[in-house]
């Protein structure tokens, strides 16, 4: 479903990604781990069209999307969340999810002006469904900026779900959460996976990654140093040296 091949990207001479290749199959959950600064978020930014790689290609469902407009990539069925929570702070919780939900609704700007409610109603129904899924339906009319940290993570997730993704890129969905919130988040991701959505998961919490991922890749200094089942990867000496040799966050 997703084939990333030989991506290279440098910022001011610093190699952030140095020939990264990986694939994700339909419905598969791929865990991407690695120390801080190993290029995980950069890779997500390349896949979702925010950065254009110096070389290499990204193909999604058989179509090359390297350096395509982020909006076109979403439209193709690839959605993402952000590690540092890029919510629409002044919008309400419902409106945050309504933004992607309105994308596929009938009607237009002009029909909205003319007073047609059909598109808006369908969009709101869809947005509320996504909010109910992550358990934020009670807070629909709250301003997003005033949400607690854990709620922001869930709103990020709801917003990405409202994009109708076939593949979802999750950038540290459990970071900064309490243990009980973590297990809730893990349950949510499991349910998304069970709907048949493929997932690429960047996460520092090893328990979350191990339980959710069917396969892992390990990034270090912009290079994939290992890949395989969670069991294989944890036994790989190179990984132990590069990753477990350094203190793990959280």
């Amino acid at each position: 479903m997703l084939a990333v091949s030989d991506i290279r990207l440098s910022f001011r001479g610093v190699r952030a990604l140095d020939g990264v290749s990986l694939t994700i199959g339909a419905g598969e959950t791929l865990g991407i781990i690695g120390p801080n600064g190993s290029g995980k978020s950069t890779l997500f930014n390349v896949i979702s069209g925010i950065y254009r790689p110096d070389s290499g290609s990204v193909a999604f469902q058989g179509r090359t999307i390297t350096g395509a407009d982020p909006r076109a990539i979403v439209a193709a069925g690839l959605a993402r969340t952000y590690q540092n929570k890029r919510l629409f702070g002044s919008l309400t919780v419902l409106e945050n999810v309504l933004v992607p939900a309105m994308r596929t609704q009938p009607g237009s700007f002009l029909s909205d002006i003319a007073g047609s409610r059909s598109g808006r109603d369908a969009g709101e129904a869809k947005a509320r469904e996504a909010l109910a899924f992550v358990g934020l339906d009670d807070l629909a009319d709250t301003e997003a900026a005033s949400l607690a940290y854990g709620q922001q993570n869930r709103l990020e997730l709801a917003r990405a779900l409202a994009c109708d993704p076939a593949l979802l890129l999750l950038d540290e969905p459990a970071a900064g959460l309490s243990p009980s919130e973590r297990s809730d988040m893990r349950g949510l991701i499991e349910r998304i996976r069970d709907r048949g959505v493929a997932i690429a998961l960047v996460e520092h919490d090893m328990r979350v990654v191990m339980q959710l991922s069917s396969r892992l890749v390990v990034l270090d200094h912009g290079v994939v140093i290992a890949g395989g089942t969670p069991a294989e990867v944890t036994e790989n000496p190179e990984v132990v040296a590069a990753y477990f040799g350094t203190p793990i966050d959280d």
Partner: protein, 303 residues
């Protein structure tokens, strides 16, 4: 419907006011249209524009030249005035709107100056520093709105139309996308919003409102001159759009009323009138950075 009430009250003003007050009332109503348009950019797209006064001037000149030179019926000049402002504003403004806020401001200052220079110096088209005189009164289907009351009523009707239409625009999916873009462009894009198209549409709508306001301005003094549409006007309209409240159409209307009629109630200050005006702007921003309306709402909530 409660929002219709202020317009009904405003429409009753001719019962008590003299012609001079009606003139100020007409002026405030006309400004409010342009200010609401500017609000699409300042309030809802997070972009400061200093070209609104120039685009307003394009609307005014288009209307003035069409009704005097081509003897076009006034109401037919309205779509032309809007179209002209939209064309100039969108063609010359959109290359910069994808840039960050600072560069957009810079570019709109350039646009404002260029519009003024062209109005002033392209004499064969605009009559240059002579201005355009003897503009006939606004008329609807041959019925002239020549008296101050009638023209004032027309302005109130236009202002109400602009306000309620803008409410629809802001509530539409475009309004939603625009606010999302203003909060976070990147995550708007990765949520499927066409970021550039949304911003260009905001620019086009804001120009359209400027053009409509300019159209009315042509029939206000029935005389237009390039010096009516300088950067000063853009600055005044910008302050009106931001003084009342962040993203609040109600706030923009109230701010236009307060600041647009200031020349009247600050009269006792004589030559220090504008010093006081500047002081009001400055103090408001220092004490109520989100604008007066949200500040008042906050006070009420705290009580």
């Amino acid at each position: 419907m409660i929002r219709l009430l202020p317009f009904v009250v405003a429409a009753l003003l001719p019962l008590v006011a003299n012609d001079y007050l009606l003139e100020i009332g007409s002026f405030v109503a006309i400004q409010s249209i342009s200010v609401i348009g500017l609000g699409y950019l300042t309030g809802f797209a997070g972009r400061i524009s200093l070209a609104q006064g120039g685009l307003y001037g394009i609307g005014a000149y288009t209307a003035a030249l069409l009704v005097t030179g081509a003897h076009c019926p006034p109401l037919l000049a309205l779509p032309a005035a809007i179209l002209a402002a939209v064309l100039v504003g969108t063609l010359l403004g959109s290359p910069a709107i994808r840039l960050s806020g600072l560069y957009f401001v810079m570019s709109t200052i350039g646009l404002q100056q260029i519009i003024w220079i062209v109005l002033m110096h392209w004499s064969s088209l605009t009559n240059g520093p002579m201005g355009v005189r003897e503009i006939p009164p606004l008329s609807v289907a041959g019925f002239a709105l020549a008296s101050p009351e009638r023209f004032y009523w027309a302005c109130v009707v236009f202002a109400a139309g602009s306000f309620f239409l803008a409410r629809r625009v802001v509530a539409s999916r475009f309004g939603l996308f625009l606010r999302a873009v203003s909060d976070d462009e990147l995550s708007a894009a990765t949520s499927g919003v066409r970021v550039v198209r949304t911003k260009v549409l905001a620019l086009a709508l804001s120009s359209a409102w400027a053009g409509a306001a300019g159209f009315l301005h042509a029939f206000f003094l029935r005389f237009v001159h390039p010096d009516m549409f300088t950067l000063d006007l853009s600055v005044v309209q910008l302050t009106m759009a931001m003084f009342g409240g962040y993203r609040s159409l109600d706030g923009m209307m109230i701010a236009t009323l307060i600041l647009g009629s200031a020349s009247e109630y600050l009269r006792p200050f004589g030559q220090f009138r504008l010093v006081v005006y500047g002081g009001i702007l400055l103090l408001t921003m220092m004490l109520a950075p989100r604008g007066i309306l949200p500040a008042l709402a906050g006070l009420r909530r705290r009580r």
